[in-house]
Symmetry: C2
Subunit: 307 residues, 2 copies
């Protein structure tokens, strides 16, 4: 299983893009804000309601263009539990629409704590005689600073339920150099982490050869993408940093294998906020998001052919 489901969806839609659902209230068109605030006031409940409507509209506009969505937990946690309720509802709705849901949580903790995170985000939590599902994502992002203790509880759930996880290797932000580019022995830290990911995930490969544990590698470092693609044969890549952060289709082609497989490219604001460039006050946010996603798909198509 592992990343097979995602790779099949990418092939069906001929599009290796994941749409980030990282909504801030100011990304939500005024007509939606107005409606929610008139019912709930300018409160966290009001913001959560507006963001739910915005997300639902985006999913309705995108579900036959992109194979996956990636809600980023920070943009829900900043509305407290009300935001988490919207995150849960958004993920559920996206799955109903056939989308692969990557919960971008970058969790990293140990032992029984990692087990609890894995229960909440991928698996089930036992309550009395019942196995209850909470967020129930298809995939999560993780931070491996604490080593395999932080990863194995997730990997166990991935294997049991045919799910998957991405661990941070080389991130797209400028300060990623501070730790990740330190030389450690004959490797740099992000290579050490990449090798750990490939090792931790061994024996979990699916039909395309990719293990249940993938890696996050930023679009802003094409030479690193090329190096790690060659080095980590069985590791699926999640590539952030396309567009706003400077990564191009030419750059990210190096994330893919010879069959155009093994990677998915994230775009968030360029899709969510596409309406801000059309001059129509967000009344067209769905059409604008869809057009932006189609444009990105077509840009990628110039460099990547998915077999």
């Amino acid at each position: 299983m592992s990343f097979d489901i995602l790779q099949d969806l990418i092939k069906d839609k001929k599009n290796p893009t994941v749409a980030g659902l990282d909504p801030r209230i100011e990304y939500v068109p005024a007509h939606i804000q107005k409606e929610s605030f008139s019912s709930h006031g300018e409160t966290l409940a009001g913001a959560a309601d507006a963001i739910w409507k915005f997300n639902k509209g985006l999913i309705d506009a995108l579900y036959d263009v992109v194979p996956a969505v990636k809600p980023q937990a920070a943009y829900y946690e900043n509305m407290g539990w009300r935001g988490m309720e919207v995150m849960e509802r958004t993920m559920q709705y996206a799955k109903e629409k056939g989308l692969y849901v990557i919960a971008d949580i970058k969790r990293g903790d140990i032992g029984s704590t990692a087990t609890a995170y894995a229960e909440g985000w991928l698996g089930t939590t036992k309550v009395g005689q019942n196995e209850c599902t909470a967020f129930d994502a298809d995939c999560v992002t993780l931070n491996g600073y604490m080593g395999s203790d932080a990863i194995n509880p997730f990997l166990d759930v991935c294997v049991a339920k045919g799910k998957s996880a991405f661990v941070l290797a080389k991130t797209s932000n400028p300060s990623s150099v501070e730790l990740q580019d330190m030389v450690a022995g004959d490797r740099v830290v992000y290579t050490v982490m990449g090798d750990l990911i490939e090792r931790w995930g061994r024996d979990t490969a699916g039909k395309y050869g990719y293990q249940a544990l993938g890696a996050v590698v930023g679009a802003t470092h094409p030479s690193v993408l090329k190096e790690l693609r060659r080095r980590l044969e069985h590791t699926f890549f999640l590539v952030p940093g396309y567009g706003a952060q400077g990564g191009t289709a030419e750059d990210v082609q190096h994330a893919f294998d010879q069959f155009g497989r093994g990677a998915i490219i994230n775009a968030s604001r360029s899709i969510m906020c596409a309406w801000k460039k059309t001059g129509r006050d967000g009344l067209d946010y769905q059409e604008a998001a869809r057009a932006a996603a189609e444009q990105m798909r077509d840009e990628l198509k110039q460099y990547i052919t998915i077999l």
Copy 2:
């Protein structure tokens, strides 16, 4: 400000202990479970209700013995948004009781995402004309793998609001060696991270000389505690791994400076689950938790005198 408030509370209570609130449903005594399940069924809502009652009882029993509590987000996220609502309520209640609240979230993300996390956990989220608070902790834990981009948005809120944060340096778990003990140049990775933490936090020291950015250093490595205490003069330590994981009072004495300041030691299960050792079916969970916290305080007192 920074860690001044916490250090003052530690001095008042003569106790450098933080009680971890990491509740699993099986840690909750049967009489509480029964009551919640009879109202809500064996569901996430039922578990969340039971855990809220358990937490409230623990806080009532502990608030004049310990200076701080540390709810671990994983044990709330595994109940979905219902768990997050209980986490929010627990934190609010602990603050009303005068406790310093450390939200153990180990978040680490970049730019606008880190800003959103900081809004949700330490600061406020702007909705229309209102600044709304969500989780509103006094302090959080963070992961610095992505570098200063992941830390600065939190640090800005810490400085503005007199709050603080701990960044992972050397964690208490066995697999922490996999990355953290790699030699990078003339240092190991956890020292690199420690030096980064000390540097990122510069110019934010409070009256005791500690900056707003602390470090997590596990109790299971006394020699590392000693080394980092000497090296990172302005960095307050959060020390997990006491008790169940093997750290002793003798070990953790090295986390403190010559005035018995600059560190707080975490205990979770030894306090929360103390009732499991008394043979009274958890009817005495409050007394048992309080006795365990007092015992730990007295153990630490043998090695640490707080001036």
